[in-house]
């Protein structure tokens, strides 16, 4: 191909590339920086723990490697902004194509509906997203399309202090999330691709006490659907119309992975 990209190209990819090049499509980064200071999920200490993100320098233009700088890093699969595969949960363990290396790659690119719960989460850290809340959203923005991401905007990512982000007291973490009714509605009546949040889990901080425990993990992964956590910049997305690119690392039988999540937004 020679010459400038043609926005009227009959090839949809070339037309899209032209829109991207012209600035009519913005790329929004929904990813938190992977850093040792970013908190990992807190579980009772007698359980296995997620390794936090850690980085060790291999060389930095020095005796260990004169002309090059590089690091080794280590972390759990569910560290930083990360993707949850169906096999992450007991309910999803029998899913075909349910691990990071077997999920159909077409699922890694999908549209998103952004449910703004920021006012409610600011007022109540334990705010639960319910079916009526979703129905009210649909009354304003239209029906949630099948095979789309539903992203719960809480502005939790604006809590840059890790203590405020974790928001723990003697009873554990207090962060917003969906209730079981919302999850079942999204799955059974809207056939969504997955559920994404700005907090460390797709479930609320107190969801270990729900029935069932962790309803979003339980039902979403049981249905072969996905999760995205620790997202940021959801306030820069429109309620509908953003296209999400979220491809986890191709880890053999991985349960998830840190990843770069991008949103493409037309303007």
């Amino acid at each position: 191909m020679t010459g400038p990209l043609d926005p009227a190209s009959p090839d949809p990819v070339l037309a899209f590339a032209a829109a991207l090049a012209s600035g009519r499509v913005a790329v929004v980064d929904l990813t938190q920086t992977l850093s040792p200071d970013f908190p990992t999920i807190v579980l009772p200490p007698e359980l296995g723990q997620s390794r936090p993100f850690r980085m060790e320098e291999v060389s930095r233009y020095d005796a260990r490697g004169p002309a090059w700088y590089w690091n080794s890093f280590s972390c759990g699969e569910h560290t930083g902004t990360h993707f949850d595969a169906p096999v992450h949960w007991i309910t999803g363990r029998e899913r075909q194509n349910g691990a990071t290396d077997t999920i159909p790659p077409a699922d890694f690119v999908a549209p998103a509906c952004v449910i703004d719960c920021s006012a409610e989460a600011a007022a109540d850290a334990d705010f639960l997203l319910t079916r009526p809340f979703l129905e009210a959203w649909e009354a304003r923005h239209g029906r949630i399309p099948p095979r789309s991401w539903v992203l719960m905007r809480t502005d939790w990512s604006k809590r840059t202090d890790p203590v405020a982000y974790q928001n723990m007291d003697e009873e554990g973490t207090h962060t917003p999330g969906p209730d079981e009714g919302a999850v079942l509605f999204l799955l059974k009546e809207r056939d969504v691709l997955g559920f994404g949040t700005e907090t460390i889990g797709t479930d609320a901080g107190q969801a270990s006490h729900f029935r069932p425990p962790y309803p979003c993990h339980h039902h979403m992964h049981g249905a072969g659907r996905y999760g995205l956590q620790c997202l940021t910049n959801l306030d820069r997305l429109p309620p509908t119309g953003a296209l999400i690119v979220a491809a986890p690392l191709k880890i053999l039988q991985g349960s998830g992975s840190p990843l770069r999540v991008l949103a493409l937004v037309g303007r």
């Binding site: 807190v42 007698e46 723990q49 936090p52 890790p162 203590v163 723990m168 007291d169």
Partner: protein, 412 residues
């Protein structure tokens, strides 16, 4: 000037470098370390004729037997004559003149040359002969007043052999755990000017910590020994001020060798207990080594809280004990690097500590407060190995008597 702290150093003067007391010893004379390394006096004794001799030799001076053993000695004796040195060729003593020295005749034993504590009245006087580690890490003999446990901190010159927390600035690497909190409190109670309280994962709050953090001497600092950047950052910020480091960072789980699948927990134990210590040593060690004479209360000691099970293994907590064994091995190397610069490296070897991970361990267990008190007592003395509590003392005795027998007993 604030009450209770030593006068600050004059910043226009070159920081004094350490001049250490003479460290040369014959191989047999290194036996003198046996007592003061753990606290106490041991002297060479002939197994055949019973003669106690000093200085140590290859053979008994009385009967020529080579069956010489080291035995604890109560040190009872008399300061028969003393002198005050006003000239010395050794740089260490030259900088500290005048220096009080004397001859102590042990009851029923030899006469020895000893440093004389300021609290001892003029000769002749009854004294207790004790052994201490000087800033070279070598054993020296000190005549102290009889009757009370030796306290070198009350003699302005001999106090240099100690690492007294009073007026010093200390870092407790993990101040959130029960042991860490007790350690911070004990250092504050011992008169530390500043205690930096290291905190990892600040979103996890531990009961009691807020009260510790609120103490006026305490400054909370972020420190995660598993994160090299965190360790290096703190070392850059306060490394040139820290006089005492007490490494309490500990990842403690209670798995036997076959008690858990995989190595994830064991790897974290190693990451905190061994690699974490290595990170700390490399970040804080070199500058500590340069600061042993930085002002009247320079860099003095590095304390690693280990475990007697680092020395014997512990099947019930196999992987944790192994990680402590690795930290113990590194502690020996740290001593080799830091002691020649005048910084003492103290290994602390308690039995089971009464903390949540030892809930199911039968008493006796050492309370965190007792552990912290033992660390402070070690710093106010001159020891480099501490075995606090009954279990640790029992273990030490059995390890010294017959480590193989202890290994079998541990396996049952």
């Amino acid at each position: 000037m604030a009450v209770g702290r030593p006068k600050r150093k004059n910043p226009v003067l070159r920081t004094r470098q350490a001049t250490l007391p003479p460290a040369g010893r014959s191989r047999v004379a290194l036996g003198m370390l046996r007592g003061p390394a753990r606290g106490g006096l041991e002297l060479q004794t002939c197994a055949d004729c019973g003669a106690v001799q000093y200085p140590p030799r290859e053979m008994c001076g009385a009967c020529l037997s080579d069956r010489l053993v080291w035995r604890p000695h109560d040190g009872a004796g008399e300061l028969v004559v003393e002198t005050t040195l006003r000239h010395a060729m050794e740089l260490h003593f030259r900088e500290r003149l005048p220096w009080r020295s004397g001859l102590v005749r042990l009851d029923g034993g030899p006469t020895v040359v000893a440093h004389v504590h300021a609290d001892v009245p003029p000769a002749p006087a009854r004294v207790t002969l004790t052994a201490a580690l000087d800033r070279s890490g070598q054993a020296v003999l000190v005549a102290v007043p009889p009757g009370a446990p030796p306290d070198l901190t009350t003699d302005p010159k001999l106090a240099e052999m100690t690492c007294d927390p009073k007026g010093r600035k200390a870092l407790v690497t993990d101040a959130k755990s029960e042991t860490g909190q007790a350690m911070v409190r004990a250092l504050v109670d011992a008169g530390a000017e500043i205690v930096w309280a290291g905190v990892a994962a600040p979103w996890i709050r531990m009961p009691g910590f807020d009260a510790v953090a609120a103490l006026p001497q305490v400054t909370v600092v972020p420190l995660d020994v598993t994160d090299g950047r965190s360790v290096d950052t703190l070392a850059a910020e306060i490394g040139h001020k820290v006089d005492l480091i007490v490494n309490t960072a500990d990842h403690h789980r209670t798995h036997g060798l076959f008690g858990e699948r995989g190595v994830e927990t064991a790897a974290t134990e190693m990451e905190v207990n061994y690699t974490g210590l290595l990170r700390l040593a490399r970040a804080f060690g070199p500058v500590m080594r340069a600061r042993a004479m930085d002002g009247p209360k320079g860099a003095a000691a590095w304390v690693n809280v280990l475990s007697v099970f680092a020395l014997s293994g512990w099947p019930a907590q196999a992987t944790w004990a192994a990680s402590k064994a690795a930290a113990h091995a590194l502690t020996l190397t740290m001593r080799a690097e830091l002691q020649p610069a005048g910084v003492r490296v103290v290994g602390v070897y308690p039995g089971p500590v009464d903390e949540p991970w030892n809930q199911q361990v039968l008493p006796p267990k050492l309370s965190p407060a007792a552990l912290a008190s033992a660390v402070v007592a070690a710093l106010r003395g001159t020891v480099e190995e501490v075995y606090p509590g009954d279990v640790a003392q029992d273990w030490l005795a059995r390890l010294r008597a017959d480590p193989k027998a202890l290994e079998r007993e541990m396996a049952r």
